[in-house]
């Protein structure tokens, strides 16, 4: 998914000064920055501080990013570094004299970063695909995902029609161009464990 063409195009446009492209990148990746801050259990004020630093560093560097496709990884490691900076400063304040320490062992942190990047890309692809679904599908799937899940009988449509519509909508989602990269990457993983077989149907 690292070679997602839409991200490469957005980075190029933002580097040329296109605010809309920048906004799209922020929409796409703010959950990544946010969720890494949450992993470090920062308070809201500190998360805002980390966000400011990360976005400003990105503004400075977006024109020079050598590999635009590596943006999510860059964002994740930059966010982690900023989180650590804030935690170190806070710890110095609370336990003067104690050496600063990463609350996460480094192999742990590397795995966490990798997981967050993969989840962020997968989630962004799903949201983009969902946004392009026809309105009926949008409404139906939103309703099915509401918490608590509604009983089928609450729906104005006849109960019998929900199942097939749900399946049709999910199939549309699955075939979205936005999910192609995500699906291909996951499929590569599958090839390692099982031959390209005909087991589906």
């Amino acid at each position: 998914m690292r070679d997602d063409p839409s991200v490469i195009a957005l980075v190029a446009r933002a580097g040329d000064g296109d605010q809309d492209a920048w906004d799209e990148l922020i929409e796409r990746y703010s959950p990544l920055v946010w969720s890494i801050c949450a992993r470090y259990q920062l308070n809201r004020q500190d998360i805002d501080g980390v966000g400011q630093s990360v976005w400003l560093l990105l503004v400075e560097q977006i024109g020079e990013l050598r590999e635009p496709a590596a943006l999510p990884g860059w964002l994740a490691t930059t966010t982690r570094r900023e989180c650590l900076r804030i935690l170190r400063a806070a710890r110095r304040h609370e336990h003067a004299g104690l050496p600063p320490e990463d609350p996460m062992p480094s192999d742990h942190a590397a795995t966490m970063i990798e997981e967050e990047v993969i989840a962020a890309e997968r989630n962004a692809a799903l949201r983009a695909a969902f946004a392009e679904l026809p309105r009926t599908c949008h409404e139906l799937l939103s309703m099915l995902m509401s918490d608590p899940p509604p009983a089928y009988t609450d729906v104005s449509a006849t109960p019998g029609s929900i199942g097939p519509t749900r399946a049709r909508c999910l199939d549309r989602l699955r075939r979205s161009r936005h999910l192609a990269a995500a699906l291909a990457e996951q499929a590569e993983d599958i090839e390692v464990t099982e031959p390209r077989g005909e087991h589906r149907g």
Binding site: A14, G17, Q19, W22, D23, I26, E27, S30, P31, V33, W34, S35, A38, Q45, I47, D48, G49, G51, Q52, S53, W55, L56, L57, L58, V59, E60, I62, R85, A89, A90, R92, H93, A96, G97, A119, A120, R122, N123, A124, L126, R127, F130, L141, L144, M145, R166, A167, L170, L173, R174, L179, A180, A182, L183, A184, Q186, A187, D189, I190, R200
Partner: protein, 155 residues
Amino acid sequence: MNIVARGWDDDDTLLAALNEALRARRAVPPEFVEAGKSAFAWHNIDAELAQLTYDSSRDSELVPSVRTESASVRALTFSSSHLTIELEVTPGSLIGQVIPAQPAVVTVQPRSGAETVVPSDEIGLFSIRPIPPGPFRLYCRTDAGLDVLTGWIIL
């Protein structure tokens, strides 16, 4: 593309994945996203970022000698590769110094509300009065053409 990922060929799994994707986005407060978007205002402005490198209310390191006479005053230092901005919080105002000493124009940028422009004297001393009540940052442009932007400051 007829390759189907493990899991996503199952409707329930795909729906659960979509639900998680939307939940992750909803977890992010709108102001956080807006702050990210407005950061683009700094695109093509040749400002260097000055990071907070010292805060007397947090840091336990020895106070630099220039400040020993006022150890009870909160002091902050923002550093970039070319310029350092030192701030001291007094009861009614914020006193700043641009280092190396040189004349500059300092703009106070509150997160919300109007900006204020404060010129420094010829050795880079400036005073901000009253102290901004909410988060703000300083944009400092020296007469020699150096641009530096501090991180957000909350006093």
